[in-house]
Subunit: 223 residues, 2 copies
DNA sequence: TAGATTGTTAATCGATTAACAATC
DNA sequence: TAGATTGTTAATCGATTAACAATC
């Protein structure tokens, strides 16, 4: 867990980490994991900055938000840094995740190996289609969504990925919120409403292509 | 196309649009399209701001970067606004897209309806596996990647989505760059290198879950 | 030690917000 | 007209960078 560095907290005792820093933290983690795979023992802010396309100062500042795990004159020890970032992000332990919506995308997510490598395990899948309920997809049982509550409790599920059609998204969201889910990864291309205690990250694939089209059309705009 | 508003260009004649604005532009587009579906004729900065969770001032400022398409006392006419944003983003015409990598995710992308709705058409798919080459997936022909160049030319393909295994990503990227592709949507969880003229957007699904885990663990941090 | 590199401060830069005259 | 809402300016806020003393 993040150490109690005084600078991390504001007057109300709330953790204050700029959103942009959190985004880069995942990128640092990914790069350092690759460096380890390539046999590197240590790295430094200059190297990481080059890999990510940010300044060395920014790398140091970002990491220093969470404590001091660099070594002056040496840099950052890769294993140490990975452990520190995972601990900060909460991925030093495994998260059980539920998936709602066994369509094209849902199946692809069930088969996707990348989640497990980063500490996420899809342990139950839900749908409303009788043709898939009761089957297993990639070793994961598919339940009727009415069984959500019991599975969430039984498996200590805190996160849900939602890959249902847009028109069904809000209703599903309401149900997962009802059973106490804390975070939602929403693949439906709609804005969803949740109580403020619940966290949402939206991934809209068409929107990503749109962003790409914009940067291509306006070639010279700031990346 | 964006009008030649003087404020959009810097001393070197380059378009200057803050990255954050571009991201919100897609969100505005999505919301206004939903408002139209709900039968609304006009909207305004306050309404859009509430839908997106930003201030009304920000909505007006963002849109004003690209010209004046609001109507004082009235707001924004939905149809007009959609047309304007599409024109700015370059999605007022259809983009032909190629897909490389027909695995789990690749197949899901081929079947995904959301792309077409926003003006993107996957017109050719590529792989190196003889078992899929020559077949059709969701009506799209699968070719050997060696046929990339000819298809790109024949179909005027400017964008590519890459859903190959991480270890193959950079080699594929080099090939698509070689044939003149202008933008890459990279689903492989690795940083790729491209010449500066080529645009890249990376989508790392595990990283999205990681971000979600962080916000759940650090509940009180700035959203 | 000399060289390398961190963590942190102060200066810079950029993005957001508040306020309001202009407009319909 | 009166009321509503824009586009834009100036003020505020936050994030990035440069520089450097502290450290190994």
């Amino acid at each position: 867990m993040p150490e109690s560095k005084s600078k991390l907290f504001n007057d109300q005792g709330e953790l204050v980490v700029p959103k942009a820093v959190v985004g880069r933290l995942s990128l640092y983690l990914r790069e350092v994991q690759h460096l380890i795979r390539d046999g590197k023992e240590t790295t430094n802010s200059t190297e990481l900055g080059k890999l990510l396309g940010v300044t060395d100062a920014q790398v140091r500042k970002d990491l220093a938000y969470f404590g001091q795990f660099g070594h002056p004159g040496v840099g950052y020890r890769c294993q140490e840094l990975v452990a520190a970032i995972k601990s900060i992000m909460g991925t030093n332990t495994i998260w059980n995740v539920a998936l709602v919506g066994i369509g094209n995308l849902g199946r692809a997510l069930l088969r996707y190996k990348g989640f497990h490598e980063q500490g996420f395990q899809i342990v139950a899948a839900f749908d409303v289609d009788d043709n898939v309920i009761g089957t297993k997809v990639e070793g994961v049982d598919v339940f009727h969504i009415r069984d959500l509550a019991s599975m969430v409790t039984a498996q200590s599920i805190r996160l849900v990925a939602i890959s249902v059609p847009s028109h069904a998204a809000q209703a599903v969201v309401d149900q997962v919120v009802e059973v106490g889910i804390e975070g939602i990864l929403n693949f439906a291309p709609v804005t969803i409403s949740v109580p403020s205690k619940v966290r949402v990250i939206g991934v809209d694939l068409a929107m990503e292509l749109e962003q790409l089209a914009f940067t291509v059309v306006n070639r010279d705009s700031k990346s």
